[in-house]
Symmetry: C2
Subunit: 338 residues, 2 copies
């Protein structure tokens, strides 16, 4: 059973995932992306190689399929969600148990760790997907967030993608992941504190003001339509880093409208396609930051949530072209050569 441990000096939780335990020598071998198509657990026809399906969008129905029994999952899915085989956190861990020993705090490994398989095609990536598949993927993000936010044990659900070995991918078949946690992650907490302070000072949303200033300056905008904007962040940590957000104020991704999702799908395909062409298919991560679960239980104490006015969902895209060294890890400052 995994657990979460709190570092009081760094105000940071870490997931100690004992199921993933390795012997010291196992760390020496460098992990590569598994590219083998014949042996891919995410390809159609190999549904029995993953744990039972949590949700899916299938061609015939065009809607979310109900949970089905293992062994009886048809291969005609467009998007498929399954539990991670080596989950960092699990919904089966029972109630949240928060304990304290001296200055150390610990929580049992309650949460969720799901994989969103992005289409049946092993070799394509989101830059090449048809628009309707990209839209289905973001619809599935919304569905899974909505479902997970019903669980009062969970404070947060983070959706992210690792593309390429340098960015942490271990399987080549296109997929993204959700990890839901019983704590609000530190980066989100920092954004919440900054946004709340700005809201108290100005009665306005910080990200809304960011977007307005980017529109006024017009120098860093990469994609812009009536619903969604993408721009290079002013203080980008990484070359070609992108900030993507809805232009109308919206704290909770699970409340995104269909029109916004369509714009988002168009935007992501466009910007990922441009990164792929300009930089020869670079490794990258993208991360969806949405407001924490408003209806979560207040355990552990001192966690952060948003009332909606003071947060604005966004997606960060970070191409992984430069290495992060001791300075970045030690300071939180990055050196961006672009």
């Amino acid at each position: 059973m995994s657990e979460l441990r709190y570092d009081p000096l760094q105000n940071r939780w870490t997931i100690i995932a004992t199921e993933r335990q390795q012997r010291p020598r196992d760390f020496v071998t460098r992990r590569e992306v598994r590219r083998d198509k014949d042996d891919c657990p995410f390809c159609p026809g190999f549904e029995d190689r993953t744990p039972p399906e949590i949700a899916a969008i299938r061609d015939e129905e065009g809607t979310l399929a109900p949970d089905t029994d293992p062994g009886s999952e048809p291969s005609n899915w467009r998007v498929r969600v399954v539990p991670n085989r080596f989950p960092a956190l699990s919904p089966e861990a029972g109630e949240v148990e928060w304990s304290r020993r001296g200055i150390y705090e610990c929580i049992n490994g309650v949460g969720a760790h799901e994989v969103i398989i992005e289409g049946p095609d092993h070799d394509l990536s989101m830059a090449e997907f048809p628009l309707d598949l990209t839209l289905d993927i973001f619809r599935m993000y919304r569905e899974r967030l909505t479902a997970l936010m019903q669980d009062r044990r969970l404070k947060y659900a983070l959706i992210f993608k690792n593309h390429g070995a340098t960015a942490g991918a271990s399987l080549a078949h296109p997929h993204s992941q959700i990890i839901a946690t019983p704590v609000t992650p530190r980066t989100v907490q920092i954004e919440l504190v900054a946004s709340l302070k700005h809201f108290r000072d100005t009665k306005k949303c910080l990200a809304c003001d960011l977007i307005k200033q980017e529109e006024a300056e017009g120098k860093r905008i990469i994609y812009d339509d009536t619903k969604i904007i993408a721009f290079n962040s002013y203080a980008s940590r990484f070359p070609f880093e992108l900030f993507i957000a809805p232009k109308s104020h919206s704290a909770f991704f699970e409340r995104t409208t269909d029109e916004e999702l369509e714009s988002l799908a168009r935007c992501m395909r466009d910007v990922l396609g441009r990164l792929k062409r300009a930089l020869d298919d670079p490794p990258f991560n993208y991360i969806l930051h949405t407001a924490p679960n408003v209806s979560a239980d207040p355990i552990p104490p001192g966690y952060w949530r948003s009332l909606g006015n003071d947060y604005h969902w966004h997606i960060e895209v970070i191409p992984r072209l430069v290495r992060t060294a001791g300075f970045e890890w030690g300071s939180g400052l990055h050196i961006n050569p672009m």
Copy 2:
């Protein structure tokens, strides 16, 4: 000229280092560690390939040499400090100029970026250095911090080492670096806030209490003598991560005693040697966290410093065996499989 830019949402400064600018295609080629001994700018005899020496410890004198002219630097140094050839920040950038445009803030690239060349031997690492060389390196850290903290423009100086390509090293010859900044880095700010809160609540230093609890539990200690302790952090982000600190309260590394430095040199050689043997010379970073410059000017506003009671210097050692993926970047949470 480089500049620092502030991200108001993430409460984070980034150094935009335009001197290091590259064209998009340049990012595609993967950087490797330069191992060539015949062409090493850090080897004795090639002193003219670096910018003029800032400081050195030489065999004959055993003391810090004064600044010398380029071309007249003798090769009999044990430890040598030179400016980084591609500095992220520079002491020649003039006074600190803090400006604000809408919600964005910017500071000109004032600071320092120095390289500490750790001995004449190209092929050894700190795990194999003689003890007196290791001690000279830490003496040099103390000297450079003392010197840099005289500059009222600088809030902070971070000393770090990148060992191995995965950890960000670009040259094989053993060396560490100092980057001094006109702002207090975010990770240090977080530690200062947590330490100050603990001090106000308990009238005790948080790191002192951490060390006491580790000594009482006795499960994670790797090195322990009368002056210095090293232990695996309770909430380690990385397998084999180490926290190394003086056992007596001490906020400022530049005030470390000779006895503490001797213990520290012994400790670092011991723990780095054990990592090297157990994990086949893994890539790693270490980072020295000391309290910010107490005598810095209050520009930009809102920066953090310590009065001494509420901070405790320490060194983090992070072996870089697992990749950091989208989840870690997006959440600040890490998944540690150990």
